[in-house]
């Protein structure tokens, strides 16, 4: 079923922000109630911009049910201007697979844009399937670099402006870099911000919060004001989202290498990291991981275990997800007075 | 040399002596110190009726105010006892046991048996009980028969300051879960109490008054009402033997039966409601084990089968009185 009227998708991950970082760092708790409120704020403006239908991930408990409840019992005047909310027909496994499936379905529906609410992890999963469908990012998890921190109402507004054609998609979107990897010739996952090689043997509780296990970092962009592993590089040699290259950084044992950087690698955590090497990397330049045993972490989460028998290769690509620049959307809207109605004299 | 102190102070003294003697003794309960987490006075209350006042000043961190969540802190006392401590935890009013009875009935009481004799749970639960304060239905109950019904629990009901101190020290040193019941009306009662530490064994009734004509078994505050009745009956030539069991689990049936074999007549004065009361318990055992000795039917003087009323006029009718006891004694004759 392909939607012909303006429609958008919202993926609000109810599971983000419950990981072990809550315990080992001062990471914040982002309540599902707030996520529901964010969705409702967005729905409020989407309807007014003529978006007819919104597709959502049916998380059964939590966000979706709160939204349903609000739609049924909200004030009548508000309710009438809200778009139709359709929950995708798909089984819920309470895992990353849900976000992935939802993205595929929304893409197939032909939504104009997908709003993603979650952390780096959720965005990474969505980005792996979103193809050319533009993403509007909203940060709700811990330790995030990729998604924006922004008032949801404005994100909803931007989505509505794009979906209703009031702003030109081409002018306000761009494609992102990604770091890809391959194990024994098989293409595996990608990272939106950083791919880390760690000597931790097991995926375990996933999060990476100790610098002592880091060996190597491959970075698509490293902004100096970002938190997380990319800050190790950013504070030496920043690379921006718009730059056509990335970085490779080799970690040295503490005190060795040619410099030590104090980096905010996790919420409330400043760790000294010694650097043996840092260099720019071009797209498609392939690197073989020299560490014999460990795990690959994608955007701060261990995802792949490897040992001596595995050949792991990493490279930068320019074919990542398409994201919307909300500032540009709103600037265009202002410039073209899209939301302004002149009064006749 | 003993001096006269109140029932309340006797309890306070028992706690203080045991805390001084044994570091594993801790005192915990609602407002047992009072004032925790406030900007005002610490040790503000020392318990709702002031029984634990002053302990915080002496023993600091071992006197612990608890939040109003009986299941959790009674259970914590039970758990701490199973792990080598000797907690004295207070249930502010025995009526509140409804909210935490599982921790006493299914946990504390049953550990030793269920775990094949390998658990030791030396927890003391202090609680106040009984009527006479116009505290109404939810703050006036007499529930020792409910607790006595549970195998694994011990239940102690002192009637004098002397007994209170000795029995409480015994409770704390005892290696089983014990419920120590303090009648609110008795808190102000004064009596002779030695300054030193002493214990009174469980399961040893006190023959408070000797007599050959009738046996009156009375519990807690009722002991004093029974004594009043006995005094009055003596003027009519009826000499009553008044027995205070002091502990209702274990209960010293032997002393009661020995007395009934002497007098042939039994009146039991129990402030609780009549169904499944201590009165019916004692009646049943005596009827079974000393039937031949009885010269007349056993009489039970209890409160009626109603909740405790609020109005003073009604509560005075509700509670057993010396007049009712006298009438009961005469009815055995």
């Amino acid at each position: 079923m392909h939607s012909t009227k303006p429609s958008i998708g919202i993926i609000a991950n109810p599971l983000s922000g419950r990981d072990v970082r809550r315990l080992v760092t001062k990471a914040s708790v982002f309540q599902n109630a707030e996520k529901s409120n964010m969705v409702l704020r967005m729905l409020g403006v989407l309807g007014k911009l003529g978006v007819d239908e919104v597709f959502m991930l049916p998380d059964v408990s939590g966000i979706a049910s709160r939204v349903i409840h609000a739609l049924r019992h909200g004030r009548a005047a508000e309710a009438s201007s809200l778009p139709r909310v359709s929950f995708l027909e798909m089984p819920i496994r309470d895992s990353a697979a849900d976000s992935l499936k939802a993205t595929e379905l929304m893409k197939a529906m032909g939504v104009s844009v997908i709003i993603v609410m979650g952390g780096d992890g959720t965005h990474r999963v969505v980005a792996s399937a979103s193809g050319d469908t533009p993403l509007l990012t909203l940060s709700t998890g811990t330790n995030n670099v990729f998604p924006e921190i922004r008032e949801a109402t404005i994100t909803g507004l931007a989505a509505g402006l794009i979906a209703s054609g009031k702003v030109r998609v081409k002018d306000v979107t761009s494609r992102n870099k990604v770091v890809r990897c391959e194990v024994n010739g098989n293409r595996r996952d990608m990272a939106l911000v950083d791919l880390a090689v760690s000597t931790e043997c097991w995926i375990g509780a996933r999060a990476l919060w100790e610098a002592s296990c880091l060996k190597e970092l491959f970075i698509s962009f490293a902004e100096p004001d970002a938190i997380g592993l990319s800050s190790i590089a950013a504070l030496i040699h920043p690379v921006y989202r718009s730059d056509a290259y990335g970085l490779r950084l080799v970690v040295a044992p503490p005190g060795e290498g040619f410099m030590t950087v104090q980096a905010p690698i996790a919420p409330g955590v400043m760790a000294p990291v010694s650097v043996a090497e840092i260099c720019e990397i071009r797209p498609k330049e392939v690197f073989r991981v020299e560490t014999s045993r460990g795990t690959i972490a994608l955007d701060g989460e261990r995802e792949i275990e490897f040992s001596e028998n595995d050949v792991v290769k990493v490279w930068l690509e320019m074919d990542g997800p398409v994201t919307v620049d909300v500032n540009k959307v709103m600037q265009q809207a202002a410039k073209n007075k899209v939301l302004v109605q002149q009064h006749e004299g | 040399m003993s001096r006269k102190i109140s029932f309340k102070d006797a309890i306070n003294e028992a706690l203080s002596l045991e805390m001084g003697r044994d570091n594993s003794v801790i005192v915990m309960g609602l407002d047992n110190a009072g004032g925790r987490g406030t900007d005002g006075q610490q040790d503000a209350w020392g318990g709702v009726l002031g029984v634990t006042k002053g302990l915080y000043g002496k023993y600091g961190d071992r006197v612990i105010d608890t939040p109003i969540s009986e299941s959790s802190y009674i259970g914590a006392a039970v758990g701490a006892a199973a792990c080598g401590m000797r907690p004295v935890v207070e249930m502010m009013f025995s009526d509140f046991f409804g909210v935490c009875f599982d921790q006493m009935m299914n946990q504390a009481a049953k550990f030793r048996y269920m775990f094949g004799g390998k658990a030791v749970t030396p927890v003391t639960m202090r609680t106040c009980y009984g009527g006479g304060f116009r505290a109404a239905a939810q703050h006036s109950q007499v529930l020792y028969s409910v607790f006595s019904h549970i195998p694994g629990l011990k239940v102690v009901v002192p009637s004098t300051p002397y007994d209170a101190k000795g029995l409480l020290i015994q409770c704390i040193r005892d290696n089983d879960p014990v419920i120590f019941m303090e009648h609110k009306v008795l808190y102000a009662m004064k009596g002779e109490v030695p300054e030193e530490s002493y214990t009174i064994p469980f399961g040893q009734a006190n023959v408070v008054r000797e007599g050959k004509d009738a046996t009156i078994v009375a519990i807690g505050w009722m002991v004093h009402k029974a004594l009043q009745a006995a005094q009055s009956l003596a003027k009519a030539g009826i000499e009553c033997e008044v027995i205070d069991p002091r502990t209702v689990s274990p209960l010293d049936y032997a002393t009661i039966i020995k007395s009934v074999e002497k007098t042939g007549r039994l009146v039991i004065v129990d402030e609780s409601n009549p169904r499944c009361s201590m009165a019916s318990d004692i009646s049943g055992v005596v009827a079974q084990d000393a039937f031949k000795a009885l010269k007349g039917p056993i009489q039970m003087v209890t409160a009626p089968h109603t909740p405790s009323p609020f109005s003073g006029a009604l509560e005075d009718l509700y509670l057993p009185s010396p007049a009712k006891i006298e009438a009961a004694v005469k009815a055995t004759m």
Binding site: V20, S61, W202, E305 | G75, G79, A80, P87, F202
Partner: protein, 323 residues
């Protein structure tokens, strides 16, 4: 995280296999009618008890649930004694007087399986309070399920533990079912861990079918408690292969659900695959453990069947220390 050496990996596998084989065997024997009363099997959840208890010593305490065999074995309770107890024999861990729902070994810090849902919360707080007074860094772990997470005792315990900064870990074993009703019905949030914020405590959710995830997260929570950092709510999402009790036809589970879980979510299979892929242990080493464990369980059943039953004298003993 604490590095897992080869002997740790083998130990973890052995413990999980002991639990699995024990439960599968009890399932089989129960069907013959020789085991009295009720049993509640832990098969499917092994990684949780194992991953947590590997960080604990005999000085640390755990409280448990009606589904307690796994906690017992992971905490080091003797398997021969456990089986005899389940059969109600005099040689049982509790001399035949407790049964499956009340197996305990206080010397191993196992404060008993418990037939009252949620009762372990307050008891665990008490154990933690005692540890705090003792001052040697001991901790208590309260195991409880998604069903128990709604019981007043658990919520009160979380409050108490946080205001008193007790060294306790609230270990939520979310197997998706409270008897016959689902967690999505009974709990208003998608994770039990979501409740932690209300008590100002960290709440973490991990995949309970992955020993390594449980081990790592438990390490952090236990370390935090030992260092005086206070309580943690650690939720492990897992699955139970059997019903609430033996005899439960599990009609509330979707068709094919258990089959899929045994294929895709079996913590033993997941562990074996990862451990052998890492090259740190071999399949042959794991198979050797399989054989030893099978023999141990056989021995336990043989001894239990042959053991004497308690006598009339045993009926009246150990109600009190003294009466």
């Amino acid at each position: 995280m604490a590095e897992l050496k080869k002997e740790d990996l083998l130990k973890a596998y052995r413990t999980m296999k002991e639990i699995r084989d024990f439960e599968e065997r009890v399932h089989k024997e129960f069907a013959t009618g020789k085991i009295p009363g009720f049993v509640h099997l832990y098969a499917g959840e092994e990684a949780v008890a194992t991953g947590v208890c590997m960080h604990l010593t005999d000085e640390d305490r755990i409280t448990s649930t009606h589904r307690g065999h796994g906690h017992c074995i992971a905490k080091g309770v003797d398997i021969i004694g456990m089986m005899a107890e389940i059969y109600g024999k005099k040689t049982g861990s509790c001399c035949g007087k407790g049964g499956s729902m009340h197996i305990a070994d206080l010397e191993k810090g196992m404060l008993g399986a418990n037939g009252i849902v949620g009762a372990g919360g307050p008891l665990g707080c008490g154990a933690a309070l005692a540890a705090k007074f003792k001052g040697k860094g001991g901790v208590a772990v309260v195991f409880f399920g998604d069903g128990a997470s709604n019981q007043g005792t658990i919520l009160e315990s979380m409050n108490l533990a946080n205001i008193w900064n007790l060294p306790v870990i609230f270990l939520a074993e979310n197997n998706g079912y409270a008897e016959s009703t689902g967690v999505k019905y009974n709990v208003p949030t998608p994770n039990i861990a979501d409740r932690a914020a209300g008590f100002n405590m960290p709440g973490v959710t991990v995949d309970g079918n992955d020993f390594f995830a449980v081990y790592e997260a438990a390490n952090e929570a236990i370390k935090r408690a030992r260092e005086g950092g206070g309580p943690t709510l650690l939720e492990c999402k897992t699955n139970r292969f059997y019903g609430h009790f033996e005899g439960d036809a599990m009609t509330y589970k979707a068709p094919g659900e258990v089959k899929r879980q045994r294929e895709e979510c079996d913590c033993l299979k997941i562990f074996a695959a990862k451990a052998t892929a890492s090259g740190l242990v071999t399949a042959a080493e794991l198979e050797a453990i399989d054989k030893e464990v099978a023999a141990l369980i056989d021995e336990a059943v043989e001894k239990a069947l042959a053991a004497p039953t308690p006598t009339e004298a045993d009926l009246l003993t150990d109600v009190y220390v003294s009466y």
